[in-house]
């Protein structure tokens, strides 16, 4: 692969970080679960990205979940990163996490501590340089927010 010297490709490599491509190729928690408590299907009809999120709640925290879908590397890897991050969290913790993901993606002020709490999700930061793809990166998070706001009790 010969891409040396192409400045644009640096940005590209930043967006398609190895963590991202890994999650895209090997999505975590993509097996559907049975008897989920809540589920939601979110999609962006314009590009066809879709994610199906299922949650199993026990005593107010996420006990099990699944995220499966179809779409671009960004939406799907972001979904997979999401799946990896919310196990055992309660509603408020998830909402804080979503807020922090949004802050990072929109380049808003975010404390060192909040940023650290993102863990691997930070790999999504490269998407910032591609504003049109931010929607892809946020698809799952927006869906999750709708789902728990409506359904989960805190």
């Amino acid at each position: 692969m010969n891409m040396g010297g192409l400045s644009g490709l640096d940005d590209l490599n930043e967006m398609y970080e190895s963590i991202i491509l890994d999650h895209y190729r090997n999505p975590r928690k993509s097996e559907k679960i049975e008897n989920s408590d809540f589920e939601i299907n979110v999609n962006n009809p314009f590009c066809g990205d879709e994610l199906f999120i299922q949650l199993k709640i026990n005593e107010g925290i996420v006990d099990d979940l699944s995220i499966s879908g179809n779409g671009c590397a960004i939406s799907q890897s972001s979904g997979s990163l999401l799946a990896e991050s919310i196990q055992n969290l309660n509603k408020d913790q998830i909402l804080i996490l979503i807020t922090n993901v949004r802050k990072m993606m929109k380049d808003e002020d975010i404390s060192e501590e909040d940023r650290d709490s993102l863990g691997d999700i930070e790999a999504l930061e490269g998407v910032k340089k591609f504003p049109v793809r931010i929607k892809c990166a946020l698809l799952g998070w927006a869906g999750l927010e709708d789902l728990i706001k409506d359904k989960m009790t805190s």
Binding site: M1, D11, L12, G48, E50, C72, A73
Partner: protein, 404 residues
């Protein structure tokens, strides 16, 4: 002989760098680039003779009116239509909606049917869905996935077919529909035909008198003209009979507090202050195209299209939508990859300066019939070259490597 280098020089944007690379603009089916002459005609209007038209006795207003109507003349000449049968709209979409509102609703009832294809742009699909809902008429679909077949049209066409509304060239599959076969089929019947020329008028010779069609719709922005203006051509006897579309200034001849009389053609369909600057510029675009010659444009694009289709056939994992070789195809090629999402392809190519479109191309149900919800699309114009296609395929190889 066409001098392609000279043509390229007419388009200032083609010289620009995108992400550090020379721009390769392959998104012409979405909108075309504009030659300097067209751009300058707009500045010239606003700088030198901007004024409202039609009702003014002062010099600026007379100049503006003349230039505005001259724009209409030039477009009429391009498609060989009488000038007063050229109605300015905002775009193809509005042209189609105008026919729906002013003609279809008043002439179609629940006993009738409308035929469109399964590959229509949303503007030529949703508009008739609505007419069908309002009138109770049936909406029938001709499947052109594997190409247009007049016998299949004959199977669904009957005495109750009020309207056939069909794209002249598909913006997804690139197929060119042989309109003359359809006009022959309906000749002598009451069936009307709308040709959606959004992808044909910019790229090939289209002669409404020769084709003997009832309506033709197209957008200036896809034919080197500005955004914000489109055209509806209609046969005079139909236009004369039709109800107005929108109500207000210019489309009336006389108004009292409780009634109004409509103006003559084409003004009956043009309510309010028109898009003067862009009508003038559309005329300039029409002249620009005529000067190159629509035959020349078409032949060049056919060549590019064949070249690219041939190249695609050597790829395993890239599939071109539609039949590649047994049908006449213009310079529009949609493709998908086994694994890589069109969005990722588009973003990668953009980093190489190559602008392509990805998504459903306003033909969602067609795209979904390929078990996907998005495709990538390249589409050409006279200023594109074989070399650009080569660069595109080189980049496509890199895409495969990158995401594998």
């Amino acid at each position: 002989m066409i001098n392609f280098d000279n043509i390229r020089k007419d388009f200032p944007i083609l010289d620009s760098k995108v992400n550090g690379q020379n721009l390769i603009y392959f998104d012409n089916a979405a909108t075309s680039q504009k030659p300097k002459k067209v751009i300058d005609s707009i500045s010239d209007y606003y700088t030198n003779y901007n004024s409202n038209v039609h009702r003014g006795v002062h010099t600026l207003s007379m100049k503006a009116t003349d230039a505005y109507e001259e724009g209409r003349n030039k477009v009429a000449k391009l498609i060989n239509a009488p000038t007063d049968c050229i109605i300015w709209t905002r775009n193809t979409t509005e042209s189609l909606n105008l026919i729906a509102t002013s003609w279809a609703i008043n002439n179609i009832s629940e006993d009738n049917n409308i035929i469109i294809t399964n590959a229509e742009h949303h503007s030529n699909l949703v508009t008739w869905q609505q007419v069908s809902k309002k009138t109770g008429c049936e909406l029938r679909f001709l499947d052109i996935t594997d190409g247009f077949n007049i016998n299949e049209l004959k199977n669904i066409f009957d005495v109750n077919t009020s309207l056939i509304s069909i794209t002249h060239m598909s913006n997804v599959l690139g197929y060119v529909i042989p309109i003359e076969q359809i006009t022959e089929l309906i000749s002598g019947t009451n069936t009307k035909i709308i040709v959606d020329g959004a992808q044909s008028v910019p790229h090939m010779p289209v002669d409404v008198s020769d084709l003997d069609i009832d309506f033709l719709t197209f957008s200036a922005h896809k034919m080197m003209g500005p955004t914000g203006i489109g055209v509806l051509y209609g046969k005079k006897e139909l236009l004369l009979d039709m109800q107005p579309f929108l109500f207000g200034g210019d489309m009336i001849i006389e108004v009292s507090y409780d009634d109004a009389k409509w103006n003559q053609l084409p003004y009956k369909f043009e309510a309010g202050t028109p898009n003067i600057a862009d009508a003038i510029a559309t005329g300039v675009a029409a002249d620009y195209l005529s000067n190159i010659g629509m035959e020349n444009i078409w032949n060049h694009e056919l060549e590019l299209s064949k070249y690219a289709l041939n190249k695609f056939s050597s790829y395993d994992k890239f599939t071109v939508l539609g039949d590649n070789f047994s049908h006449l195809r213009g310079g529009v090629i949609s493709f998908i990859h086994d694994k890589i999402h069109p969005h990722d392809i588009g973003t990668f190519l953009d980093q190489k300066g190559i602008a392509i479109r990805t998504g459903h191309h306003c033909a969602m149900p067609l795209i979904r019939s390929y078990d996907t919800s998005a495709a990538a699309r390249i589409s050409f114009y006279i200023y594109n070259s074989i070399e650009e296609i080569d660069s595109f395929f080189e980049a496509l190889n890199e895409v495969e490597e990158y995401f594998s």
